[in-house]
Amino acid sequence: MKNMKLLAGILVFGSLWGFSEVIIGSGLKDSGLPSGAIMTGIFAMMFLVFSRLLYRQPGMQLGMGLVAGGLRWFNPFVGCHICSAFAIVGEALIFELIWYKVKDMELLKTMTLQSSMGVISSYGVYVGGYIITQILTPLSVGRFSFSNLLVLIPQIFASGLLAALLGACIVPLAVATASLNISVHDRLYYPATIGISALCWCIVIITWFTAGA
């Protein structure tokens, strides 16, 4: 039963993350805003930290990344959807590595610690995801050149600053939200998680067909 709850959690949070990347991320990119840093600093960090504190299950966030990356992969909106899918999965992986030891609120007991974890996590997740996608995307067509990655490193490390600053604000918010201990009865839990996930996938698929028409 616990595993089923976890799977439903992975599905719903992964879908919400993927949905925000596809719909909101594409909108931000169209507006000329730094969508990558904003999406990581706000949405990814909120979903990742909140779900980690709610379920306290290492490995769950990697599953969420696979669901969100899958949603992005199957939805070729503006921008590089393959690159974004790789970046999302990479971000989830880096988050798991950074938060490997964080199982409770011990490391997040003060606002300073929460903001600091926000800075470290958000910057690490953004920069790591960016680098991973710059390696995997060329590799997916069989040609990766280290020098191509090297020239981009200053830009990657610079653009992570915005994600870090956003993470410093979002992680305390995610911790405060998780501290509310909101519980959903089993009778509502599964219909709610599956319903929200289905809604996210339906909206993305409908938008895809509408955009393609």
């Binding site: 690159c83 600091s116 050149s145 490390f157 610079a158």
Partner: protein, 146 residues
């Protein structure tokens, strides 16, 4: 003696912010130092051409991408115009310097599928119909032949 996590984590966060600030300053300094000529110039295999010259000499063609139809000069035609001998013996690195350095390397077989477009507003961009958008380098300044 080891420092407690209560102190270590904020210090690490400050180091991370410092790294971000230093790289941001560096990137902005590089952007400020990037001069743009009146005419858009493109270097192919060490030789510099104006974009108008390229589009005057090349035959425009249209390709279909997942971002719609794009019209420009075929990249393989550019390489031939630039006088590269044995084009299939080389790899091609498409480079941009502004707003930040970026480059992608492709083989001749891939280059043959791509085109160079110019929007007339100081932005020349390459498109490859079968490659991820990460390969659609914009503000192209050089095609290096290696």
């Amino acid at each position: 003696m080891f420092m407690g996590k209560d102190k270590l984590i904020p210090i690490l966060a400050m180091v991370v912010l410092l790294i971000g600030i230093v790289f941001t300053a560096y990137v902005h300094a590089m952007q400020a130092g990037h001069a743009t000529d009146d005419e858009y110039l493109l270097t192919i295999n060490g030789q510099t051409y104006s974009i108008n010259q390229i589009f005057a000499e090349g035959e425009p063609c249209t390709i279909t991408t997942d971002d719609g139809e794009k019209t420009g000069i075929a990249l393989d035609q550019l390489i031939v115009l630039a006088g590269v001998e044995c084009p299939s013996c080389h790899t091609y690195t498409i480079k941009a310097l502004y707003p930040h350095p970026y480059q992608q390397t492709v083989a001749w077989s891939t280059l043959q599928t791509g085109i160079l477009t110019y929007d007339g507003d100081y932005n020349a961009r390459v498109y490859f119909p079968n490659l991820a958008h990460a390969f659609w380098v914009y503000n192209v300044e050089e095609i290096e032949v290696t």
